[in-house]
Amino acid sequence: MNQGNQAFENARKPFRRANLITALGLGAFAFATFAYSVYRVHEDTFEDVVMTPELEKKIAEDRDLSKKN
């Protein structure tokens, strides 16, 4: 199909407005899904890990050990 074919342009004219609205709607949906997927993935804050004195002691020991190594 050659670009600028007038008959083809005329055939498509009645659909132009609805097609534009649909493209914007579907495109926005796709981009929003992509953005939301990335946005919702935060690094773990480890809030569910309860810090007990024993755990704090073990972390300090591990840290010292890794500094020595």
Binding site: N2, R12, F15, A18, T22, V41, E43
Partner: protein, 538 residues
């Protein structure tokens, strides 16, 4: 305008959906051949234990595995089945002058060749991408694949994703806005609906894959740690994001084949499709359920028992709408004047038998208790190849043989094509049937070697691969013969007179009757398919 410019203008800058469909078909064929070569390399390496052809290079084997999977899924089945037949047939079936965005359609196709180049360059760069088509971290992380191969594969996947998303928006908008007056969405032919549902699935899931891959790319290059536990990330998160796309992808591949079979069977059984509305709602149910079962690919990552129970149950439920479809196809065949030996019908029957077998092993795998035993064994490989290598591929071959006389105005040699079907049917069953036994005995997938206990069935499987490759060569010859033998098709080649039809009545009246619009048009369909846009009578 000289002939060279005319050629370039038509095939490079074309905005005609039918021309772009032919480009998709050619592209799919080339990618399918390359993907088949990789599968042949895999099977030859596995034809006997120990190193056979890859000099004991396990990474090279992994690269062949990755390239085979990505090529077949993203560069063969989607472009050929969804891109080619969707673009060619949907505007015709709904009585539209073209797709909604013809220029975008051109761009959508031309994103694919660079994507294929990126993938092939990735396979040739440093150690190549050995992470499989799933590209799981930490195997795909910078620590395991330090070169740019994985990055190139990710960019390739992103390009195909953008292409498929644009294609989906285009076809959805075409079907929503450009149907012939009087043709409601509900009345669209089943193939158009299959493409509509496939497009919706792509639009819903591809952005999530794009997000997942974007974060993987960022972990590899920008020092983030979305998937790195040492930085507070989680590799299982990637698996969730990937399979949120990856499982619907299975339905994306098979759904157009459902549409194809729903046209071939009524056409060659000379009966209307049984329960069209039921078929449509079954496809919608499969799509909806397919979006809610992704974690059945993750049963072994340590999901709690309630989660596993939900994903097992939800997965099993998919068997119900699938059963409705199988039942309806069989009910359509029942009592019909069936042309059993016509090639599209052979492929449709082959599809029914083999897809059902693949579906049944799928029900077995949906049980999380069994899946933990079968996970990453050849049983899984056999299962998804029965669904895809036989389901989607048979749907694609059926579509080619059914609609290629319409698309090109030339008939293929039916005897040769029937032989090609039987060679392929026997070949793929010999490849994948024995893999069930290997998997049940615990042979792991993605490993280039195995104990001597697995020699027999692996050898048989590799022989099947040789037979399947022979059918590929024969298919190429059938195409060559079709385009060079000048068997011109003017009317519907599948229409035959009924027992009680008068020849004159048949020629004068029945040749002008068809179950969908495309068969009423000239073969091949003219550049402008309709002089005046059709209207559906009430």
């Amino acid at each position: 305008m000289n002939s060279w410019w005319t050629y370039v203008n038509r095939w490079i800058f074309s905005t005609n959906a039918k021309d772009i469909a032919i480009l998709y078909l050619l592209f799919g064929l080339v990618s399918g051949i390359i993907g088949s070569v990789f599968s042949f390399i895999i099977r030859m390496e596995l034809s006997a234990p120990g190193s056979q052809f890859l000099s004991g290079n396990g990474q090279l084997y992994n690269v062949a595995i990755s390239a085979h999977g990505i090529l077949m899924i993203f560069f063969f089945i989607i472009p050929a089945l969804f891109g080619a037949f969707g673009n060619y047939l949907v505007p015709l079936m709904i009585g539209a002058p073209d797709v909604a965005y013809p220029r975008v359609n051109n761009f959508t196709f031309w994103l694919l060749p660079p994507a294929l180049m990126l993938l092939l360059i990735s396979a040739l760069t440093e150690e190549g991408p050995g992470g499989g088509w799933t590209v799981y971290p930490p195997l795909s992380s910078i620590t395991s694949h330090s070169g740019p191969a994985i990055d190139l594969a990710i960019l390739s996947l992103q390009l195909t994703g953008i292409s498929s998303t644009l294609g989906s928006v285009n076809l959805i908008a075409t079907m929503i806005n450009m149907r012939a007056p009087g043709l409601s969405l509900y009345q669209m032919p089943l193939f158009a609906w299959a493409i509509m549902i496939t497009s919706i699935l792509l639009l819903l899931t591809l952005p999530v894959l794009a997000g997942g891959l974007f974060m993987l790319f960022s972990d590899r290059n920008l020092n983030t740690s979305f998937y790195a536990p040492e930085g507070g990330g989680d590799p299982v998160l990637y698996q969730h994001l990937f399979w949120f796309f990856g499982h619907p992808e299975v339905y994306i591949l098979i759904m157009p084949a459902f549409g194809v079979v729903s046209h071939i069977i009524p056409s060659l059984a000379h009966k209307p499709i049984f329960g069209k509305e039921g078929m449509l709602w079954a496809m919608l149910s499969i799509a909806l359920l397919g979006l809610m079962v992704w974690s059945h690919h993750l049963f072994t990552v340590g999901l709690d028992v309630d989660t596993r129970a939900y994903f097992s149950a939800a997965t099993m439920v998919i068997a119900i709408p699938t059963g409705i479809k199988i039942f309806s196809w069989l009910a359509t065949l029942t009592g019909g004047a069936i042309q059993w030996s016509r090639v599209p019908m052979l492929y449709a029957i082959g599809f029914l038998i083999l897809f059902t077998i693949g579906g049944l092993t799928g029900v077995i795998l949906s049980n999380s208790v069994l899946d933990i035993a079968f996970h990453d064994t050849y049983f899984v490989v056999a299962h998804f190849h029965y669904v895809l290598s036989m389901g989607a591929l048979f749907g694609l071959c059926g579509a080619y043989y059914y609609w290629s006389p319409k698309m090109f105005g030339l008939m293929y040699n039916e005897t040769l094509a029937s032989i090609q079907f039987w060679i392929l049917f026997i070949g793929v069953n010999i490849v994948f049937g024995p893999q069930h036994f290997l998997g049940l005995n615990g042979m792991p997938r993605r490993i280039p070697d195995y104990p001597d206990a697995f020699v027999g069935w692996n050898f048989v499987s590799s022989i099947g691969s040789v037979i399947s490759i022979l059918s590929l060569f024969l298919f190429m010859y059938v195409m060559y013969d079709q385009f060079t033998s000048n068997r011109v098709v003017k009317t519907n080649p599948y229409l035959i007179p009924s027992y009680f039809d008068d020849n004159v009545i048949f020629v004068n009246e029945k040749l002008g009757v068809a179950q969908s619009i495309e068969w009423l048009l000239h073969s091949p369909v003219h550049e402008h398919a309709f002089n005046t846009l059709p209207t559906k009578s009430i």
